[in-house]
């Protein structure tokens, strides 16, 4: 009753949560065997920058648009086309509507 069955697989969250709870307890105990403390006043709490001087905080934060550079870089051609299509022009919105309507009508009319 608690699980769902798709005909090709299944998923029972309750048992999984049980596993997670037990594993969490175990690992929490294991973790608590380790050393808890650290010296909070020394330089070791400073971020590691390979010895470079620490910048002001605004510049230490990697900006959102700089993330996933590698992804965007390898799909550059795709994105150039995609951004061109999103023109922001109201007329284009309606144009797309008419185009899809025409394509759909041709598909239904022909087949």
């Amino acid at each position: 009753m608690f699980s769902i069955d798709t005909g090709s697989g299944f998923w029972n969250p309750i048992l999984w949560v049980l596993v997670i709870i037990i594993a969490f307890l175990m690992m929490y105990i294991l973790r608590s065997l380790g050393r808890k403390d650290y010296r909070k006043t020394t330089e070791q709490i400073k971020p590691f920058l390979s010895g470079n001087p620490e910048l002001e905080k605004d510049k230490m934060h990697v900006r959102g648009s700089n993330l996933y550079w590698g992804f965007r870089e390898s799909l550059k051609g795709f994105y150039n086309v995609l951004l061109k299509l999103h023109s922001g022009n109201t007329s284009d919105y309606i144009l797309w509507f008419v185009v899809i309507m025409a394509i759909f009508f041709i598909i239904i009319g022909v087949i």
Partner: protein, 119 residues
Amino acid sequence: MIFNIPFIAVAALIIIGLYAVIFRKNLIKTVIGITIIESGVNLFLITLGYREGGVPPIYTNLPEDVSIPRGMVLPVPQALTLTSIVIGVAVLALMLSLVIHIYRVYGTLDVRRIRRLRE
């Protein structure tokens, strides 16, 4: 053929309206285009309501020879058209007020320049 004229007019109005929305650059013309489409659709509705030799659905001045309610025209299309016109007016007013606001902020009505939101 003569009975098809309203339907040809409907098609023409809708196409003219779509043309105005898609290819005209001025926002007011876009609004006008939508209104033209709306007129086309309304014309279509009202044309559907026409029955040759029908009697208006008013009970008080019914001709003697017409049986009730067989000879009467069903007033549904007229009612639909009226509703649609009322809605159309509301949409038109809303669109025009937005155009006024856009003009205030952007200083232009050119649809190509009103696209701060894109990508």
